[in-house]
């Protein structure tokens, strides 16, 4: 939630002239996005988002991320569409950072999702999976199972500062997940970070998805697991089966969830919980007191992980084999 890179009026005016955007009318740094600097820019052609990519997004990944947005928008998914400059470039340089313009998406993110929102998210997630199928680029998931142990080893027993015994819990979980992590489930483009703040609604209607900077090629059902964790727990950490059922049913209406995907869900949910637990523990231990961004609570994901560890079958998520 910060503006990391300040841009001057002159720098931005020059940058806008590279595009078919008419005159620059105003720009405001917006306090959203943990990873990058975002400006809301008004020009003669309307409102746009200008993103300056900070160090956590690698420049070599931008052709994938921005190309994917362009591909998905062309295929009819509501997501920010990158603008190409007069030379056809999809990103270029501003204030020493890679920078891109994308279209502005109206909508609000839902602080307290209900089952109907979960249903809409399931549906759009399946649409994303289907529409991504003929995108020509791929990107390995840099935060999948093989990265988890190296990430854990960056802090190790330091995790016990957050809660005693956390380090051992993580090790046990790594041992299990590394041995049973599924290999052969259907794969393709996944969003990998479809939290409520990345999904916009106008009234009860889903109006678009944003923030594709973790998108990659991985198992579709893993994306579902990330969403189950992000959308279907209550603030008191209880799991809401009604919401989970709505999410899975919404998904299933667009893309059939195969039996082996359903069977794998409990393990995928554990993995998805561990992945966010690991990055949150890392950020928690490495965020200086004077940082502009407050780190997110790691224990939220520790509690979700513990829930999934006691789940014995996907039935507990509200969906059975062969159900609609």
């Amino acid at each position: 939630m910060a503006v990391y890179t300040e841009v001057s009026d002159e720098q931005l005016s020059d940058f806008v002239e590279r595009y078919e955007l008419g005159s620059l009318l105003s720009f405001k740094g917006i306090a959203e996005g943990v990873e990058n600097t975002n400006y809301l820019v008004h020009t003669d052609k309307g409102p746009f988002i200008l993103t300056l990519y900070e160090k956590r997004v690698r420049r070599e990944d931008l052709p994938f991320f921005l190309g994917l947005l362009e591909h998905l928008a062309d295929s009819g998914l509501n997501c920010p569409t990158p603008l190409r400059d007069r030379e056809g470039q999809i990103f270029s340089e501003l204030a020493g950072r890679p920078a891109a313009f994308v279209t502005f998406l109206e909508g609000l993110w839902i602080r307290r999702p209900q089952a109907l929102h979960c249903s809409a998210v399931g549906k759009v997630l399946a649409e994303l999976h289907l529409r991504g199928a003929n995108f020509s680029r791929t990107r390995e998931n840099a935060l999948s199972v093989s990265s988890w142990r190296p990430l854990y080893l960056q802090f190790g027993d330091e995790a016990n500062k957050i809660v005693p015994g956390l380090s051992e819990h993580i090790q046990e979980e790594l041992n299990v997940l590394e041995s049973v992590w599924p290999e052969s489930l259907p794969r393709g483009i996944i969003h990998a970070d479809l939290f409520p703040d990345n999904v916009f609604f106008l009234g009860d209607k889903l109006s678009g998805l944003i923030d594709f900077y973790f998108a990659c090629t991985d198992m579709f059902a893993y994306d579902l697991a990330i969403c189950l964790n992000a959308w279907c727990f209550e603030p008191d950490n209880s799991f809401n089966v009604t919401k989970a059922r709505a999410l899975l049913k919404g998904y299933g209406r667009v893309r059939t969830i195969e039996d082996e995907e359903i069977e794998a869900l409990p393990m995928l949910c554990r993995g998805a919980a561990l992945r966010f637990l690991l990055t949150r523990v890392h950020d928690w231990l490495n965020t200086a007191a004077e940082a502009l961004v407050r780190p997110k609570d790691p224990l939220e994901y520790f509690r979700k992980l513990r829930f999934h560890r006691q789940v014995s079958s996907a039935r507990e998520y509200g969906l059975e084999h062969g159900s609609d």
Copy 2:
């Protein structure tokens, strides 16, 4: 530069319904304004700024600030116009804070002002002074000469942590200014904080003024002095007489600067420099390391103060008695 108060989608939707604004389409916290929390809100009726007033703005001053904006906008000055809700209220409550909607002003603030910008600022400042004349409310300047010593006494010799001897310099200056501060110059509504980031331009044309939360009733020439300090020094702290002449001439085209105002300018510039030096020293010494807002450099205003102390007549600002 921060969002101090988070507002949820539900809270804001309810708040928007109090106004004739149609549906809420989106809102983004914007990273501008040191004092308050600002959101850029899109509704069916266009873009608006929603301000939540944080502790530094007193609730009892809001009828003055917002009433003034309404008065000035009605009189034709380009400034944010407060919206009245269906009950005719100019502000109400949101997320535990007083909150108001104002119109969105297009424009950019100029990072490196040139003489033509100074001329435009002089002109608009005089327009503000004239148009404020028939505004019915008054507000004492809470940061004028009588407040400076109490403010200084809050830190005293602590100032020497910033630069050795600073405390003594401030005391000497207080002794002088308290004895010679002018009493009888023309008075009325002044902006009192018209820095470059509060003045918008579209191309070379001034498009509007913002941030009236220091506005008060005080000497017009003191407002000019604040602008001379804010607009006419170069980044190396040298005083640019060409810019000062442009600012004063621009002002003089709309409202005649009286001889006694011109004579008083060197002392008013010293006072204006001391006022910002004092608040910046205070903020510098009282800002916790983890604060979201970085305090502004106090020494910039110490250097400006030293410049004005060696000025012997207003001629050195580029304007003589009786000149146009």
